[in-house]
């Protein structure tokens, strides 16, 4: 593995070089909301939050994306132009793993060119998590504070410098473009990084044993658990929209004057409309069925189809749920009931 060091003094230059050659996404505030947005030029201080409110999935799977355009009454269809090379800087390992999880879905039998094209052209520079949050549980679902899955480069904050580990060919190309800003990393630096990551791992306070959860969930299909849990559910889209692995979408035609487009927009399995038939029949008529499907999809169906849990343990759904519906609490009840 190619390992270098980037002095924090040179972070500004590092960002400038990346931004010159690529569309560069970094965490930024929009109003009070934290999300990854393209660097717009006059970014003052670079600040990497522990986690963004909106996960960086929207770089690849924007909340609104034009599939193609047309004119009213016409039959000519024009497609949006191809994406440019991009870099996402400061993505956390959990969010990067989420992209690897989404890859499985978007390349499942039929390739989704919109998603995969952006994935192909984008390099992910991750930042190891040295200060995990109260609801982090990445280590329970196959990740960790310095997990490299989905990443091209991993940075670890050593205090004065970042340790920079190149993980893929794509990462190697980026490294070459910033080569002159980098220093050699010493054996010590690697040890320090390892120690810091170990400390971070030990700070993760929440966990769940997911062994056999795929089989346990369907067994509890008729359990009163779901009614009890969904009693307080508001049926809003927070837990799905802000989940880094949730990928459901709606397709809508929108007209503006004579110009029209067919676009895809995020959708949520927690919304009534999601499964509502045109006849008025709804196979998931209440929040009980919707919540049950959400949990089953993440921890059972997805595992059945792709061999992995569709959850990276980022804790956003727990942090942000207005009524304290806590996925770890749900899973621990599942484990308990299934025994």
């Amino acid at each position: 593995m190619d390992t270098k060091k980037l002095s924090k003094d040179k972070l500004g230059e590092f960002v400038a070089v990346l931004a010159k050659q690529n569309k560069l996404y970094i965490p930024q505030k929009e109003g009070e909301n934290l999300k990854f947005k393209p660097l717009s030029g006059d970014q003052e201080e670079l600040d990497f939050p522990r986690i963004t409110t909106v996960p960086p999935k929207d770089v690849f799977f924007p909340q609104t994306e034009t599939l193609y355009r047309f004119e009213q009454g016409g039959t000519d269809i024009s497609f949006p132009k191809e994406e440019e090379e991009a870099v996402v800087l400061g993505i956390r390992p959990c969010d990067a793993r989420a992209m690897a999880i989404m890859d499985s879905l978007f390349s499942w039998d039929i390739d989704d060119p919109y998603f995969l094209n952006k994935r192909e052209k984008t390099t992910l520079i991750g930042l190891a998590c040295l200060e995990p949050g109260v609801n982090c549980f990445c280590t329970s679902v196959g990740g960790g504070p310095a997990s490299t899955e989905g990443l091209d480069i991993l940075l670890t904050d050593l205090g004065e410098d970042y340790l920079l580990q190149v993980l893929t060919e794509k990462g190697g190309k980026i490294k070459l473009s910033v080569e002159e800003l980098l220093e050699e990393a010493a054996e010590d630096d690697l040890d320090t990084a390892e120690k810091l990551v170990k400390e971070a791992t030990s700070k993760i306070g929440r966990s769940i044993n997911t062994d056999g959860i795929q089989e346990k969930l369907p067994e509890l299909w008729e359990s009163p658990l779901w009614k009890n849990l969904s009693n307080s559910c508001l049926g809003c889209g927070i837990c799905t929209f802000l989940c880094p692995t949730c990928h459901c979408f709606d397709i809508q035609d929108e007209m503006e004057g004579l110009e029209g487009r067919r676009c895809r927009v995020w959708d949520s399995c927690m919304f009534e409309e999601y499964t509502l038939h045109a006849s008025g029949h709804n196979p998931r008529p209440s929040r009980r069925e919707r919540l049950r499907n959400r949990i089953n999809h993440k921890y059972s169906y997805f595992v059945q189809n792709f061999g992995k849990i569709a959850c990276v343990g980022c804790g956003r759904c727990i942090d942000l749920c207005p009524v304290n519906i806590d996925v770890l609490d749900i899973l621990s009840q599942v484990v308990k009931e299934a025994i």
């Binding site: 009070e32 909301n33 409110t53 909340q63 508001l234 809003c236 802000l242 709606d250 929108e254």
Partner: protein
Amino acid sequence: MVDLEKLKSIAKETVSRDDVKYLIGWRQGTYGFRVSPHFVEKPEEAEELIFSPLCTNNLASYLVLPEKLPLPRGVEPDSRKVALMVKGCDSRAVVQQIVEQGIKRDEIIVIGCPCEGVIDLEKVEERFPNQLESVTAQWSNGKIIFHLPEGNEEIPKEEVLATKCLTCRYPNPVLSDLMLGDEVETWGDEKYEDVKELEAKDPQERWSFWEEAFSSCVRCYSCRNVCPMCYCEDCILDRLNPTWINRSNNASENTAFHLARAFHLAGRCIECGECERVCPAGIPLTKLNRKLSKVVQENYEYIPGIDPESKPFQSSYRPEDQEDFIL
């Protein structure tokens, strides 16, 4: 101060009644300072009930949230009563729902909880970060005592209370079937300082402020879903045929969404602040709703959610009502 033992015994007694479906209250959440709505169906479940400065949720939303599913032939709808714990602000939501005939007075049992103000979770979690173990809290002489694992912490109320509580005019439930504890002294006055601050800005500045706020919206609809006054069976936001508000997320559609909602709440919003509390994007929605409250109050002397016998503001007319804004 609400006596917890009294609360539990009243709750047990209430849910034991044949004509009561369940009681909705609060219980300690799964970690830290979190609290969760608690649906008590069996007497033993009442043991978990709490009332403390952590009880932020306005439970009146649950009176209008249940899905009305088609019943199998021959099955009668469940007409049993719902018992509900309310703070002052929450009780205003119940009153307004009654005024609008969203619910019927005899379908509910209101358990009033005089309230000295609830916390702003963000402020508290910032002060005590990474608090995994459950923490309880209580009011005490203008302070809030947090029972942390490492010992008690007393914090002056003003430092951790939700902004809406700092100017609260209705800490005591305006409607209740029974009250837990004595009424508390009212401290708030309404000067709409926050609204005035925005009003003082020039239109361009105000527009940029809201444009940025609305742009940050993720359209999760948590503001609508949590709102005790947002209970239309057919919401304009969901309509697809015709589509009033596109599903795409951009400043224009998002603005249409928030303004449509704000106007539908004019003279109805009871300022519980739930929309702003739940918003993951931190959009200052109460500023928007309070601007409309101020307009309604100043022009029509109408304050929603006070008198269950009153008429809904938007469907009542008095000869002396101002109409100089009509062109």
